[in-house]
């Protein structure tokens, strides 16, 4: 049996942080930790993966893997699992991660724990804590059978500094053109200088209290000063002040930053589900009764239009 594998999330050679988080966390255990990377010209990523704990780096290098497509990636992974028999395989709980893991799990007639926030993997057994009802409850589940499959929420684990040997294992390319069933006609990258909402260390969110684009501008100004991602409650999304991809809450994204700053957000259960696990929470709201204050570490009952400009100049001092 070949330890635990981590599927590497990368685009154009840029590895997503969640990959390092998974490698680092697994490295704390005694089992062999391997990174598995598919792409075109990706062998050079091995040293970076080793730095965060990969003992081995399995590489499938071919033009067919140049950009993510479910069919070829699943066919390749299924062939490699058959050849190398890993005990467990972890994916990021991202668009690609859950897409690939779900299709692979069914192909293998296997169980899959998605959106796990904690894992206990040993001796081929995997027990995961899953966030359900958008974080309002936690379910501890055991994935029976082999290999154990799970997707891990970005941000729940720290990136460590224990390196692995990073021995490169070149895998035979098993995917063929016949496995590809999705054709990507175009891709428009989100143009933003801000970090990704799901991975940001600081998130500044605006709600109904922003009253419109002017309030959102203040939220953005504070976010940029803190190198933060911008988010919003359902009210500001439904009003069209922010795009849907920035919604934090049960029908949007669940975030886990070090600091969450809620500006003009009352704190409906829907929203709290998406952000109350943040390490530190600050809230600015004019309503002293707002439920957001029940989960905030530091709340100020005041008008965000007055507070944010002063806060920005104070932080700059």
């Amino acid at each position: 049996m070949a330890g635990t594998w981590v599927f590497v999330e990368q685009k154009d050679g840029n590895i997503r942080k969640v990959t390092f988080e998974m490698l680092s966390e697994l490295k704390k255990g005694g089992d062999e930790v391997s990174a598995v990377v598919f792409g075109k010209g990706v062998e050079g990523l091995a040293p970076e993966l080793a730095k965060f704990g990969a003992d081995k780096v399995y590489v499938a290098d071919d033009a067919i893997f140049a950009s993510y497509n479910t069919g070829a990636f699943v066919a390749q992974m299924a062939a490699m699992i058959k050849e190398f028999s890993p005990n467990a395989l972890l994916f990021a709980h991202s668009f690609n991660g859950r897409d690939m893991a779900s299709r692979l799990a069914q192909k293998l007639d296997a169980g899959l724990a998605t959106d796990a926030v904690a894992a206990d993997i040993s001796a081929g057994k995997g027990i995961f804590t899953r966030s359900i009802y958008a974080g309002k409850a936690l379910a501890k589940v055991e994935v029976t059978g082999s290999p154990v499959l799970a997707t891990i929420r970005p941000g729940v684990w720290e990136v460590g500094s224990t390196a692995g040997a990073g021995a490169v294992v070149k895998a035979a390319v098993a995917a063929t053109a016949g496995d590809v069933y999705q054709v990507e006609k175009s891709f428009a990258a989100t143009v933003s200088a801000r970090p990704d909402l799901a991975e940001a260390a600081v998130v500044v969110s605006g709600g109904r209290g922003c009253k419109g684009p002017d309030g959102i501008k203040l939220v953005e100004q504070l976010a940029d000063l803190l190198g933060a991602a911008v988010g919003g409650s359902r009210a500001s999304i439904d009003s069209g002040w922010l795009g849907h991809e920035l919604q934090v809450g049960q029908t949007g994204k669940v975030v886990l930053p070090n600091l969450y700053v809620a500006c003009g957000i009352s704190g409906a259960i829907q929203h709290l589900a998406g952000m109350s696990s943040s390490k530190f929470i600050a809230a600015i709201n004019t309503d002293t009764e707002a439920p957001i204050f029940n989960v905030s570490d530091f709340g100020v009952v005041s008008d965000l239009f007055k507070v944010i400009p002063i806060l920005v100049s104070e932080l700059k001092k």
Binding site: E9, K11, G71, S94, F95, N96, R98, D99, S102, R103, A105, Q106, K107, G111, L112, T114, D115, R130, I132, Y133, L138, K140, V141, V143, T144, Q182, V183, E184, K185, F187, A188, A189, V202, L226, G227, H244, Q250, T251, L259, I269, Q270, I281, A282, I284, T288, F293, N294, S296, F298, G299, V300, V301, S302, K306, V307, I308, I310, L311, L315, K316
Partner: protein
């Protein structure tokens, strides 16, 4: 073109979760169609209004309670329903197997579903159904066009927006931002009562996931709250950010 829409009945997203005997209690909880599935139902109805879809069949797996979700979808405009009777403890694997068997018997050209359920948040079932049926799939779509035996879908991918084309029959899962689901009209609600709903038993398979324990996260407690002039509030908040959180200022 026959379209199947998979729906699941879930708790209202504003519901407060409580435990009873180690399980999540549904006492006094308002049940709704999973919001992501509701969008899929609306998407199917719009395809029918455009003349692309000819029949919309709504399907759910679970207990008799799922009949409410089917009736809501029928009242919105779906044509008929299928309730796959299954133990509510079925996992994603077992649900996908049960739904896929019933869908296969219908021989549809398009299968729609929400990309995730607001309750268990697993986002697996539509993709698993696609694998069982041997269909292509596209997840998290915000638009779809059907022409020439192909479905062209706009999806919310990692780091941007992708346009993905697949051959039909296909499974496509929806993002909530695709459309604004309609409210059933009084006429729709009356008509829904007369629309046929078939009941079938689920294919019996064992779960692949075992629930060990369900718990509630530790309640967050309220910290400092300041009610003062804006400049005092802002200064104290800045101090807290700098000294306690230790933020980096760009």
């Amino acid at each position: 073109m026959k379209v199947i829409v998979c729906v699941k009945q879930t708790f209202d997203t504003e519901a407060k979760i409580e435990l009873k005997d180690g399980k999540i209690s549904d006492a006094g909880i308002n049940l709704i169609i999973n919001p992501y599935d509701e969008v899929a139902v609306e998407g199917a109805i719009q395809l029918k209004e455009k003349g692309v879809a000819t029949e919309i069949v709504v399907i759910t797996a679970g207990s008799d309670k799922g009949m409410d979700a089917i009736r809501t979808a029928l009242a919105m405009g779906a044509d008929r329903g299928i309730l796959v009777k299954q133990d509510t403890g079925a996992d994603e694997y077992a649900r996908a197997v049960a739904l896929a068997a019933a869908i296969k018997a219908e021989n549809p050209e398009l299968v729609l579903a929400g990309h995730v359920a607001a309750d268990d948040g697993s986002s697996q079932v539509p993709t698993r159904i696609a694998e069982i049926l041997g269909f292509p799939h596209v997840n998290v779509i915000t638009n779809i066009d059907i022409a020439g035996g192909k479905a062209t879908c706009t999806t919310e991918a990692d780091g941007g927006t992708a346009v993905i084309e697949v051959a039909i029959p296909a499974v496509v899962s929806s993002q909530v931002s695709w459309n604004e689901p309609r409210y059933p009209s009084m006429k729709g609600i009356m008509q829904a009562k007369k629309k046929p709903v078939a009941t079938v038993d689920a294919v019996a398979v064992d779960n692949k996931i075992k629930i060990v324990e369900v718990s509630l996260p530790a309640a967050k407690t309220a910290g400092i709250k300041i009610e003062d002039d804006a400049d005092v509030c802002a200064t104290k908040l800045a101090d807290w950010m700098k000294n306690t959180v230790k933020v980096e200022v760009k």
